[in-house]
Amino acid sequence: MKTTTDEHPLTFAARAVERFFFQPSDPTTLGLMRIAAGILVLYVHLVYCIGLTDYFGPYAWIDNDVTKFVREGIETYAPSSNWKDLWWESDAPVFKGQTMWSIYYHVEDPKWVWIIHSSILLVMLLFTLGLWTRVTSVLTWIGSLMYIHRLMQPGMLFGMDTMTNLGLFYLMIAPCGAALSLDRWWQVRRERRRLGAKYVPQPPQPMVSATFATRLLQINYCIIYFAAGTSKLMGASWWNGTAPNGFLLNYSFAPFDVPKYVEFLQWLVKHRWLWELFCTIGVVGTLCLELGFPFLVWNRYTRWVMVSGSILFHTLIALLMGLVTFSLMMMVLVMAFVPPEAVRQMVQSWEVRLRQLLSRQAGSKVEPQVALSR
């Protein structure tokens, strides 16, 4: 980050922006994110199979009269652009309807709903495997968004859908099929056939688009944490330390069906000091993480603390609030902060272990194959 003394500040800033967004980087992290996000997205959409027509059929929970009203009838009032009204334009709404789209607004026949759903699941499977990723990543985002728009917000969506959409949007921009994918395996295989024995597989080339998409993910993740943290500062319960009551004792969220959890809570409330300490640590930890993350994650010395803190935080959310898929998706997104070298090293160690395991099972030495990651 050194600048020569005669460099204009604007030039310096432009160079910094260029380095930040466009310095080529290894796409391996994005490949791993694609696999993890793909598995989650596939699971989320497989769950729709349980009562598919309850979501998209002619007698769905949210019928298409409601969606039509939202798309065409719901009114938006804008802030007043003069002093006649104090806040909102009182004369008339500025817009009617919301910009939403989905094939499920138009198709309700169960037979066709199943055909479309199966096709989208197939595309998501191909995306997870990394086959024709440039196209399937776009189709996966479009497919996922069609479910989101059909189920609507407010409707049957929750935070997990927001994070899924966000992850798929940036992975669509990213070269997430350039590593750890069938596309990559295919490419290496082609090269090997072409060049024969003299071909030595190389790791994927660093790519500008990998850095660009990773930065978008990182910035969005920081915005999520900062918005969540600052909005909590407006709440009395986050100041007096009682906020954890809202989810620890919330029967619909907390795992009250797990006897150990109830026993733990009952033991905790028997010792007021312990209860208050537990809640205070929870509140302070949440606020420190959410408000500190956007600043400290950029520093190489504090990054691992923030990333580990984020993983721990979302593990607790999954365990105490039952938001498992949401938490897993957040963990996938926070992977954007893990340096590609570390991911590559990890993947290679998995690969070595897998080969050792295979060779032990085969009872003989297995010839090293071309790694998907290389």
């Binding site: 939403m100 189709l139 009551n245 898929t325």
Partner: protein, 456 residues
């Protein structure tokens, strides 16, 4: 960037490689779209959609292939722009072939037109120009997200920041809604609150009844399903900020100004607040409810100072009213037997305090549930009782004296009543009883003639 190697070893492979190149793929895509356009004059809708979908998909594949294999020399960029421009033309043909009733498909195609057109200009730019365009996109995108984050009014205020709301309303809303980047990320803020549940009282054609409640962990095959049901119930909780319009004069002004009728649901006029309150007061006496536990009369008075609730009346906004009707319709059609009516109650499951947990209280204690009546619906989701006096009012599950409704067991008229006492304390002589007015209302309210409650 490299081009595919062309090997002339096998004619079939060679032909296959030819059709892996962008232009032939785009040509096939264009042909598919033209066929789709031709089919727009016929009734073969699925076939037309298949051709149009295939045309757009092939155009997308051609673009992806071109951008992956082409270099960034000027000549190559011009050709890439040509591929994108042609794909714009494919999308345009698909757009022209799509019926107006497929409005959301048209919306999607409009976005695709913008993207392909913008893309064809951007690939023409030199490296610096492309990077400036990328940074401009970053600024546009994140400013939009920030406008969504900050355009939420702070607590106890209906006034969000002016600039972000202005930008959100006029500039970003279409982009953010289209891409679903509308979330403000205010998770569990400003304070985590209680969960909302929806209870359905289903009456079958044969006269039998049953309750269905969402969310229900026991009926959820996976956790994700439970979360969806929680979200569905929560969505019914969008309430009006204040009471409805107070009198006919206000309704006249409203209808003149907005040039539409003041309605509860399409075709059902909305009563004035004065009339709603009058009906509710009268109903406590006119609906001769009986407590099935002991056969004593159980007049349903409003509750005095409901803890944690600002009002005894909670009318949902139009969106939630329609959503509730849709839920009732769904429930009616999911039952194995023919359904006659579905009554809906929206319920707030109040949170337990640590002290209550310490005292060994049950999170499922009936009085912990705060229900509001949301109407009776036929199997098509039509509201059957828009003038029901308890519609959108709190219908409590409450502990009262065993002597209720003898004098002294409720707030008397001279003290602002008659009203139920919300925290009635049991004594050694009178341990009290829990009256489940939801059950009583669901099973007994049909007995009373609505004619007795006609407008004055």
């Amino acid at each position: 960037m490299s081009r595919d190697s062309v090997a002339a070893d096998f004619p079939f492979r060679s032909a296959l490689r030819t059709f892996r190149r962008p232009w032939p793929i785009l040509g096939v895509g264009l042909a598919c779209t033209v066929i789709g356009l031709a089919l727009s004059q016929t009734t073969l809708v699925p076939l037309r959609l298949l051709f149009l979908g295939a045309g757009i998909l092939l155009a997308g594949i051609a673009v992806a292939r071109r951008l992956q294999t082409a270099s960034w020399e000027l000549e190559e960029r011009v050709e890439s722009a040509g591929v994108l421009g042609t794909s714009f033309f494919v999308v345009l043909l698909a757009y022209l072939s799509t019926d107006a009733q497929w409005d959301s498909a048209l919306l999607f195609l409009q976005a695709l037109l913008i993207v392909s057109l913008a893309g064809s200009f951007i690939v023409l730019l030199p490296r610096m120009g492309r990077r400036i365009a990328a940074v401009a996109f970053v600024l546009f995108h994140f400013c939009g997200i920030l406008s969504a984050v900050t355009s939420v009014p702070p607590p106890r205020s209906d006034a969000p920041p002016w600039i972000s709301t202005f930008l959100w309303s006029y500039f970003y809303r279409h982009y953010l809604f289209f891409t679903y980047f509308t979330n403000a990320y205010h998770f569990y803020s400003p304070d985590p609150g209680p969960a909302t549940l929806v209870w359905f009282h289903i009456e079958y054609e044969d006269g039998s009844v049953r309750w269905k409640k969402i969310p229900n962990r026991d009926e959820s095959p996976v956790g994700l399903y439970h979360q969806r049901m929680l979200a569905a119930a929560e969505s019914t909780m969008n309430n009006m900020n204040g009471p409805p319009l107070i009198n006919q004069e206000q309704i006249r002004t409203y209808e003149q100004k907005l040039k539409r009728p003041y309605e509860l649901l399409p075709g059902i006029p909305h009563d004035t607040w004065d009339e709603i309150v009058r009906r509710r007061r009268a109903a406590a006496e006119l609906f001769k409810f009986v407590d099935p536990q002991d056969g004593r009369p159980a007049p349903l008075y409003p509750v005095f100072e409901l803890p944690g609730q600002s009002s005894e009346y909670a009318e949902p906004l139009e969106f939630s009213r329609r959503l509730i009707a849709s839920f009732a319709r769904h429930v009616a059609h999911s039952e194995p037997r023919p359904v006659k009516t579905v009554r809906v109650y929206r319920v707030v499951h109040t949170l337990m305090t640590p002290r209550e947990l310490y005292e060994g209280k049950d999170p499922l204690e009936p009085t912990r549930f705060v229900p509001f009546y949301m109407g009776k619906y036929d199997p098509d989701g039509k509201l059957l009782d828009p003038q029901e006096p308890f519609l959108y009012w709190h219908v409590p599950i409450i502990r009262v004296s065993r002597r209720y409704p003898e004098p002294g067991t409720y707030v008397p008229p001279e003290q602002g009543g008659p009203m139920l006492i919300p925290r009635w304390e049991p004594t050694a002589d009178d341990p009290g009883k829990i009256i489940n007015f939801v059950e009583i209302h669901a099973t007994q309210s049909d007995r009373f003639q609505p004619e007795t409650l006609k407008k004055k």
